[in-house]
């Protein structure tokens, strides 16, 4: 019970839970106490009403409201007491009357007048919750009065009756409002109604509105006011006679909403009857007033009945299909996710359904089986049932994603929910088996893709361990059990290849390729991943794909980049990550969160759509790792490049992002020891610029960075070693670029000592630089030295070259101005003369020659 009403404030829910635990006796005493409190407050209110003390009224009303909240649990169980409703109705009438009485209002003192208006507003708002009850009370106030004791409350009530007549016109207005309101609230209250349905005792009388024309109701109301003194039965009769649509539950008798009876007693339960009933239930589906949870109950009951009566699997399957469908229907809103219990039920249902399907191989299901060609009866023919299990499972998978999206990723709840992933996978696996034997290739492709989607992002630790040959060491029984399964790589390979071969929709194949690449990259199979990416030509046309596929593509590219980095392919890593990182919206591009943006760029609708695209937390790629990998690879590329092209005017940046970080670092007025990952990289870059590889190394690889970034890799040690090596090499290059102008010759041995690299490595690096004409030097073999040629232009020469270039540009621009003039005149005045045109050509050629000369 408490779960349904846990929507209120915290204190309230606490109360309710405690109330649940207390023994019935205790509940009784609290009930009595609260009841007393109520009557006391109501008495004071009535008194205050008599002497027109509005401020007192307001005060008491607020108290009453609090008291009501306190005892809400009991109220929920017992229903709202009649006297409470009566008070509310009377108070409102009374207030309205006072409000109308302009004269009286003027006479009132300020406090009272103020209290009156606040109270009036409050009660109006408050009474909306009890509209039905109040309406019912107003219709036959006397009868309900009978139920309660008649002391001074009663007299106050008669007073209000007389007032009622006086304020008729005003009341009509009100009732009109209610009329229209109650139509709306009918829909709202339905959820609660469902809960209340199982309650045995409900105090109040219930009216079902058959006919909801407000005008007619108003009419009716007016008449009823006149006949107020008459006996209520008469009034009822007349009401019924006039409206017909008004149906009244017998007064005074507690309404029992009994468990819906499926069939009349004694009916022979056979296929036809059950199907008829099923259709009956299904017809209500999707209609506005339908109680969805009740529908699910009904369907369950129906399933039970058909099971009892051995009507065969066909009908059971049919019902199961519908149960699952109505479970999905439970949330009308697309954004809302399933409640936990619904979700559990759904999983169970699907499991059962699959059980049935596996046990009975003579059931054919399919979307394309027409309703009337279904065969549900037990006969020699196989069952034929309309419905698609695959769609249901797909929907289930989506629901699972939705649940994960809507759970706080740092809570225990998330972990609990994540445990269901195994079940989801299990179901998909079973479906896969089922469809492999029965389904069409198209369906198989779809279910394969589902399977792939649940596999591709998981790192296969078993296979990893096995490949390292450590299997024997850490082997418990469980491990052994696990390791018997197929390698995820093999599964991926098998499933993806099937899809490549058989799929006819482009989307599934694209997704499969991307997942395959992702999986390869995750397991450091760089070459396979890269080849697949290049062969698929996805890079050319991915921008035409829908956003979820693009997100998958982005994830794949990032994973590919990280994989390249692990393998020491710095350049490839940088290229793969460049697109994602340079936009500065990596988070959004990977579907791992929304960026703060103003509402102009994105309205609420778009935001909802984007939210639905988010990748669940357990599939996220660590953004800090991503950025760090990108920045470090940018550093390894950019720093030597910067050193080599110090004076080049046409130098372009390799990585804007990296330069931005450097600038941010430079802008800092006071440089403390680095804290964040970015600061570490910036500090390391500075050290590298000086060729100081040891400092650089200590900035990139230390405890902080290990815990933040490097430990996230599966092969931490190997990556770190690779990184050190790269830092040494690139530092050596930077050093040579920066300081070559200072040296006449350099011993390679010294260099190898300085950078702790082996002599052959140093030799090869320097040779490569010489070959690429990056370093103007030659190697002297016998002495193992590098001899500098000193052909690098001095800074003055560099500057002169730059100036020449600029002047070339200037001349070109000038030519253009002149050109334009020529063109204009040529076009205008001497259109037929060829001279102008020729002249212009000449000038162009001259300009070109100039340009040629000016660039060197």
């Amino acid at each position: 019970m408490s779960r349904f009403f846990a929507t209120g404030s915290d204190s309230e829910s606490e109360e309710s839970s405690s109330a649940d635990e207390i023994t019935p006796k205790a509940t009784g005493t609290t009930f009595n106490k609260q009841f007393e409190e109520f009557t006391n407050i109501i008495k004071t209110i009535r008194n205050a009403m008599k002497i027109r003390d509005m401020s007192k009224c307001l005060e008491e009303f607020e108290q009453l409201y609090r008291a009501f909240l306190k005892s809400k649990t009991i109220m929920d169980k017992e229903g709202v007491p009649q006297f409470y409703i009566r008070l509310l109705a009377d108070l409102e009438d009374y207030l309205n009357q006072l409000w109308e009485d302009k004269e009286g209002k003027k006479k009132m003192n300020k406090n009272n007048a103020k209290a009156l208006s606040t109270l009036r507003q409050k009660i109006r708002k408050y009474n909306k919750d009890f509209e039905t009850e109040i309406a019912s009370y107003k219709e036959n106030p006397e009868q309900s009065a009978e139920e309660e004791e008649k002391d001074d409350i009663g007299s106050g009530y008669t007073l209000s009756l007389c007032q009622d007549e006086e304020s008729e016109s005003e009341d009509d207005e009100e009732s009109e409002d209610w009329g229209s309101d109650s139509v709306d609230s009918g829909g709202e209250s339905e959820d609660n109604e469902g809960a209340a349905a199982s309650l045995a005792v409900v105090f109040l009388k219930k009216y079902v509105y058959g006919d909801k024309h407000p005008e007619r109701k108003k009419d009716d109301r007016r008449k009823r006011h006149k006949k107020m003194e008459q006996v209520d039965e008469e009034a009822d009769e007349e009401g019924e006679g006039e409206e017909g649509g008004w149906e009244k539950v017998k007064g005074g008798v507690p309404l029992v909403k009994e468990k819906p009876k499926m069939f009349a007693k004694g009916t022979e339960i056979n296929n036809a009857v059950v199907i008829k009933k099923l259709n009956e239930i299904l017809q209500a589906r999707g209609k506005k007033g339908t109680d969805r949870s009740a529908q699910i109950e009904l369907l369950h009951a129906l399933a039970g009945i058909s099971n009892e009566n051995n009507l065969g699997e066909g009908i059971l399957v049919k019902i199961k299909f519908n149960i699952i469908a109505s479970l999905y229907d439970y949330n009308t809103n697309l954004a809302a996710f399933m409640k936990a219990e619904m979700w559990k039920k759904c999983l169970e249902c699907i499991d059962e359904l699959l059980d049935i399907l596996f046990e009975n191989s003579n059931i054919f299901i399919g979307e394309n089986i027409a309703e009337d060609s279904e065969n549900l009866a037990i006969s020699d023919q196989p069952f034929r049932v309309r419905g698609c299990i695959l769609t249901l499972v797909e929907r289930m998978d989506e629901e699972f994603t939705k649940i994960m999206q809507n759970t706080d990723p740092h809570s225990q709840e998330y972990v609990d929910n994540l445990k269901d992933e195994g079940r989801v996978c299990g179901i998909i696996d079973r479906l896969l088996q089922y469809l492999e034997s029965k389904g069409s290739t198209e369906e198989v492709c779809r279910v394969y893709l589902r399977r792939i989607m649940h596999t591709y992002y998981k790192f296969d630790y078993k296979a990893h361990r096995r490949s390292l040959g450590l299997q024997g060491e850490t082997k418990s029984e469980q491990d052994q059990e696990e390791s018997e399964g197929e390698d995820s790589a093999i599964i991926m390979d098998r499933l993806c290849k099937f899809i490549y071969a058989k799929d006819r929709t482009d989307r599934i194949r694209t997704c499969a390729i991307l997942c395959h690449i992702y999986h390869h990259a995750l397991h450091s199979r760089w070459y396979q991943a890269r080849d697949l990416m290049l062969m698929s030509h996805l890079q050319d046309n991915i921008q035409h794909a829908d956003p979820p596929v693009q997100i998958l593509y982005n994830r794949t590219m990032v994973q590919l980049g990280i994989c390249a980095f692990r393998q020491g392919m710095i350049k490839d890593a940088h290229n793969a990550l460049l697109d994602i990182q340079s936009s500065g919206r990596a988070k959004e591009l990977l579907g791992q969160g929304l960026l703060m943006r103003n509402m102009q760029e994105r309205n609420a609708e778009q935001e909802k759509i984007e939210k639905r695209r988010q990748v669940p937390f357990h599939m996220h790629i660590n953004l800090e790792l991503l950025e760090c990998v990108y920045l470090v690879s940018a550093m390894l590329l950019e720093i030597p490049y910067m050193a080599a092209h110090e004076f080049d005017a046409r130098r372009r940046m390799i990585s804007k992002q990296f330069h931005h970080q450097l600038r941010v670092g430079e802008r800092q007025p006071l440089l403390g020891p680095p804290e964040s990952m970015r600061e570490h990289v910036v500090a390391a870059s500075k050290a590298m610029k000086m060729g100081d590889w040891k400092t650089c190394h200590s900035f990139i690889i230390n405890e902080k960075m290990n815990s933040k970034v490097w430990d996230l890799f599966p092969e931490t040690q190997r990556v770190r070693e690779m990184l050190v090596r790269k830092i040494q090499e690139e530092s050596l290059r930077t050093y040579l670029f920066t300081y070559s102008s200072v040296y006449d010759s350099l011993s390679m041995e010294t260099l190898s000592e300085m950078f702790e690299l082996e002599l052959p490595t140093v030799h090869s690096i320097i040779s490569k630089m010489i070959i690429n004409e990056e370093l103007m030097a030659s190697l002297d073999q016998p002495t193992q030295t590098v001899v500098m040629h000193r052909t690098e232009p001095t800074s003055l020469q560099n500057m002169t070259l730059q100036l020449a270039e600029k002047l070339g540009g200037l001349v070109e621009n000038n030519e253009r101005v002149f050109d334009l003039k020529q063109g204009v005149y040529g076009g205008y005045f001497n259109r037929d003369q060829k001279g102008g045109y020729q002249q212009r050509q000449n000038y162009q050629r001259g300009g070109y020659r100039n340009q040629n000369q000016s660039s060197y």
């Binding site: 001095t794 101005v817 003039k821």
Partner: protein, 335 residues
């Protein structure tokens, strides 16, 4: 360095100005140099007021005083007030108190700017014979005093008066960068007593005191000059691009206008043949607003500045080449 030196450069002869020559007292030169050494450093510029009077066709500058350096935050400092006060005080001690111009230091010869143009214009507008003295401390430090007097040409004065720097007016006025400023020859004059003292000092001074003159290193100075030159060339390019796009826009609009007129004419002839009244002539200029022409003054100034840099670099390099040859000869001789 205090030697009597006439850096009279044969500039274009002033035509209609009464002043043909400027005679500066040694005192003024020394005061300017001192002012820079005390207050100017790096690329900072110092400025001051020149005092003197016109005698026949020459302008005698007999005294000067600096503008005080003041930061931007003391707003209540009134420069005009200060100048008046200063001149009044100087008159009390019987010094020439007529305002005849102003002086300014320069950094690697970069002085042709809008600010200089504006203030020189206002000076010349108020006092016809006023000039601006440009003092180059860097060249002076290299061993040769560099002090030049400039004034705006009458042509430029007229343009400035109208404040119209559109391409057409400049074209009509035939003002090129070489016609913006004119240099006035300078003579430095000392009293006989001082001349005697200087001659006496010259006797005593050693060659070693003049070693700045023989400094062989050139790259630093050249690099700086090149940098500044490049900066201006960039500016020039930008201006040209601006002008270019303006020209293109203009011609495009002309075409549109022409097309529009033709169409209108055709329509009118058709209407006439049908006997309908012709369409009313609309204001074409209203429909086709000519694009805003970029002011050309900046381009002119930049060109002037570039010219200035080039002159400087040329002078410097030719001097340096001479020095290098001399050094080579000396080396060959000694070895």
């Amino acid at each position: 360095m205090g030697s009597l030196k006439d850096s009279a450069v044969s500039g274009s002869n002033p035509l209609d100005s009464p002043v043909k020559q400027i005679q500066i007292d040694g005192l003024v030169v020394l005061k300017i140099i001192k002012h820079y050494q005390e207050e100017g450093q790096g690329s900072e510029v110092v400025q001051g007021v020149l005092l003197g009077l016109v005698v026949e066709d020459r302008l005698e500058i007999t005294n000067c005083f600096p503008f005080p350096q003041h930061t931007e935050d003391d707003v209540d400092f009134d420069e005009v007030q200060y100048q008046m006060e200063m001149m009044r005080s100087l008159r009390h001690v019987n010094i020439d108190h007529l305002h005849v111009g102003w002086y300014q230091s320069t950094y690697y010869g970069s002085f042709v700017s809008r600010a200089l143009l504006d203030s020189q214009f206002s000076y010349q507008h108020a006092i016809e014979e006023s000039v601006v003295l440009i003092y180059d401390p860097i060249k002076t430090a290299q061993g040769s005093l560099c002090l030049k007097a400039y004034r705006l040409t009458p042509k430029l004065m007229e343009i400035c008066k109208e404040k119209d720097f559109s391409p057409e007016t400049l074209k009509k006025a035939c003002v090129g960068y070489e016609h913006m400023l004119e240099e006035v020859p300078i003579v430095i004059k000392n009293s006989h007593l001082i001349n005697v003292l200087l001659l006496d000092l010259q006797e005593k001074s050693m060659v070693a005191d003049k070693h700045e003159l023989l400094n062989l290193s050139s790259s630093n100075h050249l690099e700086k000059s090149l940098q500044l030159l490049m900066d201006r060339v960039d500016g020039m390019s930008q201006e040209i691009v601006k002008y270019n796009s303006y020209c293109r826009n203009l011609s495009k609009q002309q075409q549109q206008k022409q097309q529009y007129l033709q169409r209108r004419q055709q329509e009118n002839t058709q209407r006439q043949s049908r006997g309908e009244p012709p369409l009313p002539e609309e204001d074409i200029n209203k429909m086709f607003k000519p694009p805003q022409a970029p002011p050309r003054m900046d381009t002119l100034l930049i060109a002037g500045q570039v010219n200035n840099y080039c002159q400087n670099i040329k002078a410097f390099t030719s001097q340096n080449l001479g020095k290098l040859f001399m050094a080579e000869a000396l080396q060959g001789h000694s070895s």
